[in-house]
Structures are given as structure tokens and as C-alpha cells.
């Protein structure tokens, strides 16, 4: 699969302070990439570099087939960006806002009008199309800003905190829309603090704090950091089965809490039957056996916490 974004040692310094330090990553076309990190980690600076808004101090990147720093005007025309702030003209109507940007994105008047109307319908803003944007709710403004980023049908879209400060219903609409964009084959570079959202939407995730701490699919990140785990619920006190579990060579880090045993297991798909046999052999009556699922939040906090 082709790479939509490829960076090598991308670095940005501000007056000697390193904001982004040697970022190297590849993002496959047609996937959703989640870029996670705490405030001030350099996420927005990275997005601005990749969207050719600011130049890197060092390193290089290819975005949507354009080499950064070679023809940045063409690069900007090939990507869409939802900036941190919606940045809309409050006095202008939704339609006037979008028409302005459609023309700046080189759409001819007829196509500009068609695209504006299309996205106003898609994002459920058609009924308010001629009203000043200053009267819009936060959710409507965010949807309009997303529409603005897509008018020219870019192959790569940067979304900086698309659901921040939205109510659950509006956030759901935006998430569904992002899924739709992915289904259309677009590459989404998603910056978010909403970890369940990243888990739900992203094919791969980069955890970033000035430099890339870890990158992989959500499941790879969990497995890489916490290993695979199994939870066994038994009848009665689980503590008495701890020695039995610990005696098994493929079981590690066994904890008991009430009727629940939690442990790391090498290759659970293969070893869980042996584990169950050993516990039953020791007299355990088993209610449930479940896969231990670490949340993306656990992964994030372990990585970012270790570098805070």
C-alpha cells in the first residue's frame, strides 16, 4: 500500500527550543492515523509542518505525493486541514464562508457551488446555509470547518481535535463522518485527546511527546506494552489458586482480587486451555475466562507518564 505521509527526522525548533524532535513515520494511504500526546507535546506544530504551514528546521517529508519545501503551494492544495480553532467568518453565512474557501482552493465557480451545497447537505447544515455563522452552535461551527477542509476533495486530511468541546451527539456525528471519509479511501491524520475515540477510529496510533514514543495499531500498542492477559473468575476466593497459576511456566504477574484471577499469559489462544486444566486440577470451579483488555488510556499513561 502506498504511503500518504512519510517523514524522516522531521524537526522543528523555536529559538533553540525543540518542539518536534526527529519525527520519522509512515502512514499508509486510506488509513486513519491517531496522533496522541499531552498539551504542548508538539502535535499542532507537526500538523502545521505536514500541511506546509511552517517549515521544518531539519528533516524531510512527503505528503500526498509532494515533497515538503519543494512546492508547498501544491502540497497545500492537496491536503485539507481542520485547524485547532474553527476560524470562521462570523458575519458571513455558512455558504459564503465555504464559497470563499472553495475559490481559494482553485475550484471553478460551478464546481465550488456544487461542492458547497454537497457538504452543507452532508453535514446537515443545509437549512442554516444562509444564516450568519456567528449564530451557529459549537457543533455546527465544527462541522462547517470540517466541510471547509474537504471542499477540494483532498486525499490527506488533518483533523486537529475534531470533537473537542462538542456534545456527545455532535461528537458522534463527526466520528461517523470521519469513518465515512476513511471508507472513501482518504487518509486521516487525527490529533485528539479523546482516547476511546482514537481507539474506535484509528488503524494506527503514534504516541508523541516532542518525539515519537511508540507507534502501532491500538492492539499492537497494548500487546507490546502490557503483553497478553487472561482473567479467570472462580467460585470462592481466587487467592488460593495463585500458587497454582504461578507454577505454570507460561503465566506471569498473577493477581487475585475476590473471585478474580488476573495474569499475563504467553500466547493465551494456545495456553488458556492448559491454564484452565491446571486450575480445575487444583479444585477450582470456573465461572468465566476472559481476555484481559488494557485500554488505550493505560498505554498512553504508561508511555507519556514515563516521559512527563
Amino acid at each position: 500500500m502506498a504511503h500518504a505521509i512519510e517523514t524522516h527526522g522531521l524537526t522543528r525548533k523555536f529559538d533553540g527550543r525543540v518542539a518536534v524532535d526527529g519525527l520519522s513515520l509512515t502512514i499508509e494511504a486510506g488509513t486513519v492515523f491517531g496522533f496522541l500526546g499531552p498539551n504542548g507535546a508538539g502535535k499542532t506544530t507537526t500538523v502545521r509542518m505536514l500541511a506546509a504551514l511552517i517549515s521544518p528546521t531539519d528533516g524531510d517529508a512527503i505528503v500526498a505525493g509532494h515533497t515538503l519545501g519543494v512546492d508547498d503551494t501544491a502540497l497545500r492544495g492537496s491536503v485539507g486541514i481542520l485547524t485547532e480553532q474553527p476560524g470562521l467568518y462570523d458575519r458571513l453565512s455558512a455558504r459564503q464562508n465555504l464559497r470563499y474557501f472553495a475559490r481559494l482552493y482553485d475550484l471553478d465557480p460551478a464546481r465550488a457551488d456544487a461542492q458547497v451545497d454537497r457538504y452543507l447537505h452532508l453535514l446537515e447544515l443545509w437549512d442554516r446555509r444562509d444564516e450568519p455563522v456567528g449564530t451557529f452552535s459549537k457543533g455546527m461551527r465544527q462541522k462547517l470547518a470540517i466541510a471547509r477542509a474537504l471542499l477540494h476533495e483532498p486525499g490527506v486530511v488533518f483533523l486537529d481535535e475534531p470533537t473537542a468541546a462538542l456534545d456527545p451527539e455532535a461528537a458522534r456525528t463527526v466520528r461517523d463522518f470521519v469513518k465515512g471519509l476513511k471508507a472513501e479511501g482518504r487518509t486521516i491524520f487525527l490529533t485528539t485527546h479523546n482516547l476511546p475515540e482514537a481507539d474506535e477510529l484509528c488503524d494506527s496510533i503514534g504516541i508523541f511527546q516532542r518525539r515519537l514514543l511508540r507507534m502501532g495499531s491500538p492492539s499492537e500498542l497494548r500487546a507490546g506494552l502490557f503483553g497478553a492477559g487472561t482473567i479467570v473468575r472462580v467460585v470462592g476466593d481466587a487467592a488460593r489458586y495463585v500458587p497454582v497459576a504461578k507454577a505454570l511456566p507460561f503465566v506471569h504477574e498473577v493477581h487475585a482480587d475476590g473471585d478474580t484471577l488476573t495474569m499475563q499469559v504467553d500466547d493465551p489462544d494456545l495456553r488458556n486451555p492448559d491454564l484452565v486444566d491446571a486450575l480445575r486440577g487444583a479444585g477450582a470451579r470456573i465461572r468465566y475466562v476472559e481476555r484481559l483488555q488494557h485500554s488505550l488510556e493505560d498505554v498512553y499513561l504508561r508511555l507519556v507518564g514515563g516521559h512527563a
Partner: protein, 259 residues
């Protein structure tokens, strides 16, 4: 260039939606001009007892009868209005067009489009300069018509509508307007309130007022040579101001340095 016109179009659309700003900037000059012409007319009718004993006067006003002197003084004072308007009008328009956009955080999405920074700057500047110059020159033309219609003698007319003043209006006012807009761009990198930018840019009226008082006191005679000389100085100042403005109005600088 096409994108500069798109920006210009959007700026004027926004301007049309700001009724207060539109009224204050575009309709006030004709009203002031009409007022100037009315006062000029009245001075020629009702100033028979004007007393200028001891007051410094331009040498060319010496020996004028009272009514002519009154008209010439009124006309000369109001004529400077047309050197002040091109400072005020574009400063007000540009401060809303640039500082306003900075405050509303609308610049970043624009900078993210394939527009070149000079196209954006040109669009913003033209959006302020074109109406300012049109309204100033239009108002100046009305003023000249008023002077020609109501001057009680040819001498009064010649003392007000001088070749120096005409040259100053045609040559110097666009340059003053350009400096005003460039100054707003420079100030935009530091201030977040359009009114603050306007207050700072108002410093440009000082040399114009100096010209007015110098003329009235007889110290300065605004002849064609002086008007052109001022034009040369203003052109250099405008070039310097534009150079600074274009350096500050760069994508990178706007996004990382403007606070």
C-alpha cells in the same frame, strides 16, 4: 493575482455587512466635504468683519479683502482634510481586515489554502486602499467643484486649488494611504484590537498637521516642488514600510510570532 481578487471580494462582502464601519468610513467623507463647502460658502457671505490683526498669515494672503481672506482661510484649512482622509479610511478598514482576522483566528485556515502570502497581503491592502482612495478623490473632486462654484473671486479659488495641493492629493495621498495600511500590518503582529492599531497609525497625521499649520503660519508654501518632494519622501517611507510589512506578513511569522 486571481486569489488576491478573491480576497478582495470577500473583504468587501464583509465590509458591506458591517454597516457601522461602512457608514463611518465611506459616508462620512462626503458629509464632511459638504460641510466644508457650506462653511466656505458662508465665509464668503457673512465674514465681512473678520479680524486677522496680529495673526500669522501665508504671504500670498496679504492684502486680501476680508471676505476673500475668510474664504481663503476656510478653504485652505479644509483642503488639508483630503490629505488626512487617506490615512484614516484605510487604517480603519485595514485594521478590521487584518487585526480582526487575527483576533477571530481566521488567518490559519486561509494560510492553509494554496494562496501565496503576497496574494493574501495584496488582497487585504487593495480592499482598504481602493475604497479609501476612491472616496478621498471623489470627495476632493466635490470639494473642488464647491470651491469653483462658491469662491467669490478667482483669486480665492487660485489660493485654495493650487497646483501643489492638486499634486499632493493625487501623488501624496495614495502614498500616505499605503503607509497607513503597511503600518497596520506591522502593528497587527503585536496588537489584538483594531482600535489599538488605529490609534498607533494615527501618528501619521502629525506630519500632515504640521503641513497645515506651517502653511497657515506662512512658514511652508505647498507648491508643486514641495508636493513632489514630499511624494519622494513618502515613496521611500512607503517602500520601507511595505518591506517591513511583507516580512512580518509571512505564513511562518503569522503562525508562530503573532501574539
Amino acid at each position: 493575482m486571481k486569489k488576491a481578487l478573491i480576497v478582495l471580494d470577500k473583504e468587501w462582502l464583509e465590509l458591506r455587512l458591517q454597516r457601522g464601519l461602512l457608514l463611518a468610513t465611506l459616508f462620512l467623507p462626503p458629509v464632511m466635504t459638504a460641510f466644508a463647502v457650506v462653511v466656505f460658502y458662508a465665509a464668503g457671505k457673512f465674514s465681512a468683519n473678520v479680524n486677522t490683526a496680529g495673526a500669522p498669515l501665508p504671504p500670498e494672503f496679504a492684502g486680501l479683502p476680508p471676505l476673500e481672506l475668510a474664504q481663503a482661510l476656510v478653504g485652505r484649512q479644509f483642503s488639508v482634510l483630503f490629505l488626512l482622509l487617506p490615512i484614516f479610511i484605510p487604517s480603519v478598514l485595514a485594521s478590521y481586515a487584518i487585526v480582526g482576522e487575527k483576533r477571530e483566528r481566521t488567518l490559519e485556515p486561509v494560510l492553509a489554502t494554496p494562496i501565496r502570502t503576497w496574494e493574501l497581503l495584496l488582497g487585504k491592502m487593495l480592499a482598504s486602499l481602493i475604497p479609501a482612495l476612491a472616496i478621498t478623490l471623489g470627495a476632493a473632486a466635490l470639494f473642488v467643484i464647491g470651491i469653483f462654484a462658491f469662491a467669490i473671486t478667482d483669486r480665492v479659488r487660485e489660493l485654495i486649488v493650487t497646483p501643489g495641493w492638486v499634486l499632493a492629493v493625487i501623488v501624496d495621498t495614495p502614498l500616505l494611504a499605503l503607509i497607513g495600511v503597511a503600518l497596520i500590518v506591522v502593528l497587527s503582529s503585536r496588537v489584538n484590537d483594531p482600535r489599538t492599531a488605529q490609534q498607533f497609525s494615527a501618528v501619521l497625521v502629525v506630519p500632515v498637521l504640521a503641513l497645515l499649520f506651517g502653511q497657515l503660519a506662512g512658514v511652508i508654501v505647498l507648491g508643486p516642488a514641495l508636493a513632489l518632494g514630499i511624494g519622494v519622501i513618502l515613496a521611500m517611507a512607503a517602500a520601507g514600510a511595505l518591506w517591513v510589512a511583507t516580512r512580518l506578513f509571512q505564513r511562518e511569522v503569522i503562525l508562530t510570532r503573532w501574539r
